[in-house]
Assembly symmetry: C2
Homo-oligomer: 616 residues x 2
């Protein structure tokens, strides 16, 4: 896939955008706050931006809503402009180029305080008087910079560099310090340059953020499919692979490390930096991906009592993990909470600052597993709900990931309408459209409490009868047609089958049961919850009303829902930029109470209830 | 070369002996105290031992000195019995199977206190209540054993072992601890088994001692030629190789590591243990060998101001250096003092305890470089004298190392007599015989103060005239014939030439000047020096009288000379067995004052004087 550079003015933020993504999606992906009053449907005309470089032909909706003079000047709608070349876009001045969550954070926490520090020193030349060794003279220089001489440590790898480097650099040396350890040495004063990358390793997708460790500026974002998917789509199938395939663990580890190294190379190329300028990477991942990344057998996570091998935060030499950055580089691995609530949840909590919140908040990161946390300062409980892959479009007859060609939103208007990612012919539906569709079916009474299609003749709601054409039979059961074979990209119809609805019920039932059990555990009612923060790609994309209409999230909470983007990624960034945030992650992992849903009393009946729909 | 097992009774000490070495030499090599009143010449008949297994035919001197009944019972002279098969030897009961130096040491220091500790724990099984990770439960077990939970550390390599190992061992685990770091994990209780090896890496020879880290018992001794000799015989030629040959440094490092790994394998095989039972090795070496072993460029040692890259003691993972022992194993590298006074000298000082001595002592370790230390508790000065390889038989026309066929001692009796290592035909002379020969030439006035041969006609001493046959001409200059071509193993004459004497003058002049300068630096006279301790293979082998007669060591000190065997090896053993001794080594390296001879005022004239002989 091609990527283009999107330069956002006046903030001068550079974002890399996959071909065909809209400006709305690109800003959303980057976690930027921008207002789309009509939800990005191209109807309100409010999301105007000015494209000062690279502007293309306006689409019909833009011609309709924007005066031609402004069109000529490059004004476009962010929700309608797809990216097919490098663009420079001027945003309205008040646009906040930050995550919601970062805006809410106390400023002091965002102060950059990296784990690694660079210290430029002029080392004494060797002297006949003292016969002092290279290492001793370096220590002397570092003591002048405030280090404790007796605590300074080095390694054979560093000692090997000293003699030649010192002499070649005429004793002008930049030491890369990790606490009291000299982790790297460089010739001359390079103390102004230090980059890092934060990674969120998802079961399906790996996202990496290249950051300047001094300014905190994000230089670019890169992402790729987790190549472990070729060994198994979900956590359980990968655990099976580890158990049955010889050297399976090391194969999976090598695959993810290779993918990360490719992302590092890609990010370095795009930002026009070298890999050796990158000194640290941070890792947020679920417990299984965490263990696989480190090459630790994760199988104990899958069997009762579901304990991980390690939950503490780790700092590992990049060399040991074969991560291709500066040879002094470190890998900062966020801690896990339990077998199914991993470092990705810790990262989300780090970003959302639930541990510092006076208000009770509910945080949901929906992926193949839904990680849910509820609480405020003093007490947070978390659980993992096995939603399965329905929200990601898998196990759904016409399902697909949220890529070009996916129907992403569905609207029950005079007739059924939908939007397609990239704007072309539809190829399938992604999770957000599944939610929209089923929400409509529930609200129109087309399916009943148990999710079963009602025969057309028995429909009560007149509005429902408008969609007669969409109500079809498939394999002897009711189904709902979204796009006829004649208008799809592949010539097959796109529909929601009875089985698809069952899959969705399982998925939403798992999440809803998790929320209900956490609320019971905390003794919290919906009115006590001040905010619902939806994290993750899917959480960021769904229509909150649809989520509530199907009962994924309690209806009372609809108005409290906020999308917070890839909060796990944001947490990984925080942990990379700031030692104190990394330490805070350890405290979070230590104090969050894990609720194991499977052993919760009456879990099965609660889950069963939660698979139902609330029909008016 | 073949090696045979020598079992010494009643102490049950097993020593490995190279083919052809005498029992005297074998005991000497192993640092055992045994009395040879005639110096091992086979004349006094006092060094009787009983060979209860593997005895061979007695040599003439034994038949002469031992009654036939005793001969039949296996009684032999230790100085005359060469080893050509496995032997069991019964020593007189009073034989002390210890180094001199260890006898003198305070008992408490020999208490075994290894760096690595093994702790057997029964780790809690995983529980549904706590969801506590494997690592956390291991920490809990270690805390019960007195460790501080918050200070315990692990590594990815160890974490990788936990899940499978814990379950396979049913949570009965032995942790190998290095301070607060879990360095290794083993199934079940292996806490009773931990071995180590101490290495003395010489420029020419590498010696390794396999030790039980709990009892301190020595299981066997192995040695080999330093394979770096094929890249250069001495330190300077190896430095040149590093400077000129691509990847020269890494080639030299790989060579020494390979040799050490072979010695480890050999020692393990002989002692019937596995390499994985070996958890630590210690390294004593001169500064250049030290740097080459670690893969650190040593070239700065060779150019003014002669500083090493590192002087501090180091603890390195065996894996990092590719040392083939237990994967949790550590390498303990003794510290250097300066560019030419290395960790071997520190080891000698550790063994001789100069830093604790009330009396002033002079310690000399003669090799290609002579390391000399003088002092007592409170002040020790040390220097390195560039003796060159003459004492090792190199650069000497008929010279050879102290191996089978070497004339090792020379006696001026009615006619010239000598002993040959292994007892066969002579092939050359080694350093000790060179000393004996030249000492006689000096004492008989056959050479003058400047080392020049006097014409036979001008000899004053009647005794000298007895050796008329030996006084020959070679290439137009005087020379001294030791063995005529007709009686040597190779059919060439063995002699000492004028040039050989010049070489010896340079060598002994360097050492003597070093001693003189250290004495001046300390303000010490010969009468202040209570002991002269000669370390190293050559120091252990020379005739003290000869050494004083040629002026290598001041004559007044002759009666104070003690041979202390391979003290560098003993120091390496102490540093391996005891953490406190390893730390003491750091203190020694820190406090010993290094005197750089080359920059000492009037060094050249002092050296020049010291090359002269004192003729009566």
């Amino acid at each position: 896939m091609n990527y283009y550079k999107l330069l956002l003015k006046p903030q001068d933020v550079l974002v890399d955008v996959a071909e065909g993504r809209t400006l709305k999606e690109a800003m959303n992906d980057a976690g930027l706050v921008f207002d789309f009053p009509c939800g990005g449907r191209g109807t309100c005309g409010k999301c105007r931006v000015k494209i000062s470089k690279g502007v293309g032909t306006p689409v019909a909706k833009e011609q309709e809503l924007i005066p031609s003079k402004e069109l000529d000047a490059g004004v476009r709608l962010a929700c309608m402009t797809a990216v097919y070349n490098d663009l420079t876009v001027e945003l309205p001045d008040q646009t906040k180029l930050q995550h919601h969550i970062l805006i809410d954070s106390e400023k002091k926490d965002m102060q950059v305080d990296p784990h690694l520090k660079k210290v430029f020193v002029e080392v004494d030349k060797p002297s006949r008087e003292t016969h002092s060794s290279d290492w001793r003279r370096l220590k002397k220089s570092l003591v002048k910079q405030g280090y404790m001489g007796s605590e300074l440590e080095s390694s054979v790898a560093i000692l090997r560099q000293m003699p030649d480097l010192f002499r070649a650099a005429n004793y002008r040396i930049t030491a890369v310090m990790f606490e009291n350890v000299v982790a790297g040495l460089e010739a001359q004063d390079t103390s102004k340059s230090m980059l890092g990358m934060a990674f969120d390793i998802g079961t399906t997708t790996i996202v990496g953020y290249l950051l300047d460790l001094y300014s905190g500026a994000e230089l670019c974002v890169v992402s790729t499919l987790n190549p472990q998917t070729s060994f198994g789509a979900d956590v359980i199938s990968r655990l099976t692979f580890v158990g049955h395939e010889e050297k399976g663990l090391m194969k999976l580890q090598a695959a993810v490390v290779e993918a990360i190294n490719k992302l590092i190379a890609e990010a370095a190329e795009r930002a026009a930096v070298t890999r050796s300028q990158i000194y640290g990477i941070s890792i947020a991942a679920n417990t299984c991906m965490h263990h696989l990344f480190l090459g630790i057998n994760p199988q104990s996570i899958a069997v009762a009592p579901y304990v991980p091998a390690v939950s503490e935060p780790l700092v590992v030499d990049a060399l040991e993990l074969k991560i291709d950055i500066n040879q002094a580089g470190k890998v900062f691995v966020l801690p896990n909470i339990a077998g199914f609530v991993g470092a990705d949840t810790v990262a989300v909590l780090l970003a959302t600052e639930l541990d510092r919140s006076e208000d009770v908040k509910l945080v949901i990161d929906i992926g193949t597993n839904g990680e849910i946390a509820l609480g405020s300062r003093g007490k947070i409980v978390a659980c993992s709900a096995a939603a399965g892959p329905a929200f990601e479009g898998a196990q759904i007859s016409s399902g697909m990931r949220g890529a070009v060609g996916a129907i992403d939103h569905v609207y029950y208007r005079d007739k059924l309408e939908y939007t397609v990612i990239g704007g072309g012919k539809p190829l399938g539906i992604c999770g957000s459209a599944l939610l929209d569709t089923v929400a409509g079916l529930v609200e129109l009474g087309i399916i009943n409490k148990r999710g079963k299609f009602i025969a057309y003749e028995q429909l009560n709601d007149q509005a429902a009868k408008k969609y007669k054409e969409n109500l079809i039979q498939h394999e002897g059961q009711g189904a709902f047609l979204l796009a006829d074979a004649g208008i799809t990209g592949h010539g097959r119809p796109i529909m929601i089958t009875q089985k698809d609805i069952r899959e969705l019920q399982m998925a939403k039932g798992a999440i809803a049961a998790g929320i209900r059990i956490l609320m019971k555990t905390c003794g919290v009612e919906t009115e006590d919850i001040k905010e619902v923060l939806l994290a993750g790609a899917f959480g960021n994309y769904l229509n909150p009303h649809s989520a509530c209409a199907i009962g994924l999230i309690p209806e009372d909470l609809e108005s409290k829902i906020q999308m917070i983007g890839n909060a796990a990624g944001t947490g990984a960034k925080l942990a990379l930029l700031s030692l104190s945030q990394f330490r805070r992650a350890a405290d979070i992992a230590e104090t969050v109470d894990f609720v194991e849903l499977g052993s919760y009393p009456k879990f099965n009946s609660i889950f069963g209830e939660c698979t139902y729909f609330t029909v008016k």
